[in-house]
Symmetry: C2
Subunit: 143 residues, 2 copies
Amino acid sequence: MTTVSAHGARPARDTRQRRAVEAALGRADGFRSAQDIHADLRAAGQRVGLTTVYRALQALADTGSVDTLRADDGENLYRRCGSVSHHHHLVCRGCGLTVEVESTAVERWAEGIAARHGFTEIRHSVEVSGSCTGCARAGSGIR
Amino acid sequence: MTTVSAHGARPARDTRQRRAVEAALGRADGFRSAQDIHADLRAAGQRVGLTTVYRALQALADTGSVDTLRADDGENLYRRCGSVSHHHHLVCRGCGLTVEVESTAVERWAEGIAARHGFTEIRHSVEVSGSCTGCARAGSGIR
DNA sequence: CTGCATGCAAAATGTTTGCACTCTA
DNA sequence: TAGAGTGCAAACATTTTGCATGCAG
């Protein structure tokens, strides 16, 4: 990490495509990949380049206004998230339903073991996935 | 995922390249990517195809004899791990030094919140990274 | 008017697959 | 000897980059 100023990046210019990406992100409930967003926009008649979607999403992530998550297959997923504070996700592998969960317990645990091993500049990622009630009932057509 | 029998896959045939990959994995301390292993072998004079390395690593992962981890940039990392039981990793972003940590606390937390939200078939991934004492001192030439 | 933003095409990455050949069991 | 394992090349999928053009500020 070379002098990265997390969160607060510069404002970013206000363009049609930028707004479109944000809107699409707002419309979605769960996490969406750049490609998903691109398809959504295209389906909605909005013409925005894939490259731009990637750049917009990246910019939003830098700002801290969207949450990032890496799917099991390596795809990057984004989601406009409600709480600004640090939190983790509980995602349904069946339908993508996402619940934001908070846990000072885990945070502390991470800090703790890291410190115990002499590590500094801690960063952690915690993802919990499963099958939500609906999908479990549907017979786990789980990914 | 279609009918995957986690862990105990079939024995796998004993070949030179298979052994080479396992050996390379054993030589390394931290996590290594398929490409890394391939380079290591090649450097050691061992001639093994990249494809084979990928396949061998995948096979080992299926067996459960190696740990898998996804790097920040999406690369898949592997490591021959000591404990067979479930555990997480504390990785140094500077040098790759890895410490295996166990935590029934986190396990329980994950199960708990998942259950609270009606989720079943829970799966979770927890990764903690930071800068180890050595690297911190060296002035965080952190990735 | 300045220069960040856009978008196309091309490049880069990491990983997988088709297929003929090799070698283990 | 049967069939798993190997390896090369080509296919793939996602993301990034070069560069000419467009538009916000």
